[in-house]
Symmetry: C2
Subunit: 333 residues, 2 copies
Amino acid sequence: MKRGSTVNFDGVYVENTASVVGPKEAEGPLGKYFDKQVKDDLLGQKSHELAEIRFHITAIRYLMNKSRRKEEDVDLCIAGDLLDEITGASLTMREFDVPFLGAYNACATFAESLITAALFISSGKFKRIISSTSSHFSTAERQYRFPLELGNQRTPLAQWTVTAAGAVMLSDIPSKVAVKRATVGKVVDFGVTDGNDMGACMAPAAADTIVRHFSESGLKPDYYDLIATGDLGTAGSELMKVLAEKRGIKLGSNYNDCGAMIFNRVWQDVGQGGSGAACSSSVFSGYIYKKMLLGDFKRVLLVPTGALCSKTSILQGESIPGIAHAVAFEVVK
Amino acid sequence: MKRGSTVNFDGVYVENTASVVGPKEAEGPLGKYFDKQVKDDLLGQKSHELAEIRFHITAIRYLMNKSRRKEEDVDLCIAGDLLDEITGASLTMREFDVPFLGAYNACATFAESLITAALFISSGKFKRIISSTSSHFSTAERQYRFPLELGNQRTPLAQWTVTAAGAVMLSDIPSKVAVKRATVGKVVDFGVTDGNDMGACMAPAAADTIVRHFSESGLKPDYYDLIATGDLGTAGSELMKVLAEKRGIKLGSNYNDCGAMIFNRVWQDVGQGGSGAACSSSVFSGYIYKKMLLGDFKRVLLVPTGALCSKTSILQGESIPGIAHAVAFEVVK
C-alpha cells in the first residue's frame, strides 16, 4: 500500500502574519483585512518587477515590525514568486541578512513554503522561519501572456493575478493558532493546454490532495470551518468539487476559494477570480488568520494550488499539470 | 549575537545516487564515474527542453532501479532545474506518482534540495526522499543568453552549462555515507551585473557560506578531505579563495570546484569550466559519492553555488547576487 504524505505537527505555531496589497485587492470584499493597501501598484519603481519586489520586502519588514523581531531573530526565510527564476524572492532577500531557501510550485508555493518551514521547526533545528510569496498582475501578464500595452482581450476563463505579498512567521513558541497537519501534493496532469484556463489545470491536483488529505488523516470535510483552495477561481472550484465528489469527498458550504474570495466578480472584471502566488498568502495572512484570532474560524484547511508551466512550455504545446498542497491550521487556546 | 544557520544531522544517510550525462561530460576527466553517458544530447526528443526532462526522468528511474525501490517506497521528491518556472523538474514529476516539492536557488538548488530532504528525515516524518536536479547546455544558452543557432562568440569568463541530471536518495536507514551537517546560505550581492561572469556573481556567497560553516561548526578546513564548490569555475574559485582568506579561512589543496573538475579546460573549450544546476549533482552522484564508497574521501564538504538572475533581471540592469549552501558528507562505517 502506498505510503501517505500527510504529516501531523505538534509544536508549530503562527507567530504573526503580514499582508500588503494593491488598489484592486484593497477595493475587494476582503480589503479591510489587509495590513497595508497601496494606492499605486508601481510603488514609485521603474518597472513592475521592481514594484513586486518592493511589495515582498514591505510584507517581510512589516511582519518583523509587527512581531517585534529583528533579522537576527529569524533563522530562515523560505520564499518564492512567479517571476522567471523566482527573481522576485531572490532579489527581495538581498535586503535581509537571513538565510534563504527559494521555493517554487507556482501558485502553490505558499503551501510548499509553510510545509517546509513547519517540518524544519519540527526537526528542532530551527526556531523561527518566515514563509512568504508575492505576485503582481502586471509582471505575470507580461511574462505569461502579453504585454499590457497591447490591450489584448481576456478570455472568459482567465483569472486576475493578485498584486500583493503575504508573509507568515512560524515558530516553536506556543500561540493561538497552530499548524496541525499537512498533505504534500503530487503533480497531476489531465492534459489541459490552455494557459488561460488555470482553474482547469489545477482542479485535478486540488481534488487529489483534498481527497488524500481526508483519507490519510481520517478526518471528514465538516471537521474544518473553512476549506479554502488557493486560486482555482469560480469555474475551477466547481470542477474541483465534481472531481472530489467522484472520489467520495463531498465539499459543502464550508468550502471556498481564495481567488473567489478576494475579488467581487460582478463589478471588478476579474474573470473567474484572483490567482497568483500571493493570492493564498495574502488571503491567509490578511483575512483567514485574523478571523482565526477572532475565533470566527477554529479549524481551517488551506490548499494553495499551482499550474506548472512557463511561456516556453506552453508555446511548445506541453500540457499544464497542476499541484496542490494542504495545510491545516487550528485555534489551540 | 547572530544565530547560526549550521545544523547537525544524526541518522540521515545516502542510500544511493545516480547520474546521467551528455557526450561532452562523458569525454571529460570524470567521464567513467557517471552511471550513464548518452551519445546524443537531444535524446531523440523534438526540443532540448524535452531532452533535459528526459535526462531528469532517466536519473530518477535509474536511481530507483539501482536502489531496488519503487515509487511507493519514496516519500517525496525535492527537485529543481534552471528552466523558467522549473518546468524541467515539474514536468519530470508528471512521470512519478510521488509527492513533489519544487526547489529553486539556481545552481545551488541541489544543496537546497539535500538540506531540505535531510531536515525532513530528521523531523522523523519522512523516511526516504529523492533530491535531484538537471541542466542542459542548449536550454540554458537559449534561455539566459542567445539561441545557439546565432553562433555567438563566448566571452573569456563564460562557463559551460553541464548537460546532465544527478539524483540522490536520502533515507533514515544506516549506510556507509551519512549527511552530517549543513549550512544554509544567504543572498550576497557584490553588485556584479555581467551575466557571462557567473563565477564572480557567486564567489562572495560561496566565501560567506564557507566562512560561516567553519565558524559555526568549530571545524577547520583540513577536517575535510575535499571541499568542493558547485560551479565557480577556475576564475571564480580563485576569487572565492581570496575572499575567504580575507575572513580568516585559508583553503588548501583539499579545495576544488565541481565545475573545474568535470571538464578539461585545455582541450574541451569550456571557458572557466562547467556550471549548471546538474554540475554539483552529477559530480557528487557520479564521482564524489563513489570515491567515498571506495574510502578515497572520508569527509566531504559540498558547496553548490547559485547566481540569482533571470533574462529579465539582467536586461533590466539588476545586479546578480549569489547564494551557496554547504552540505557535509562523511563515511561512517
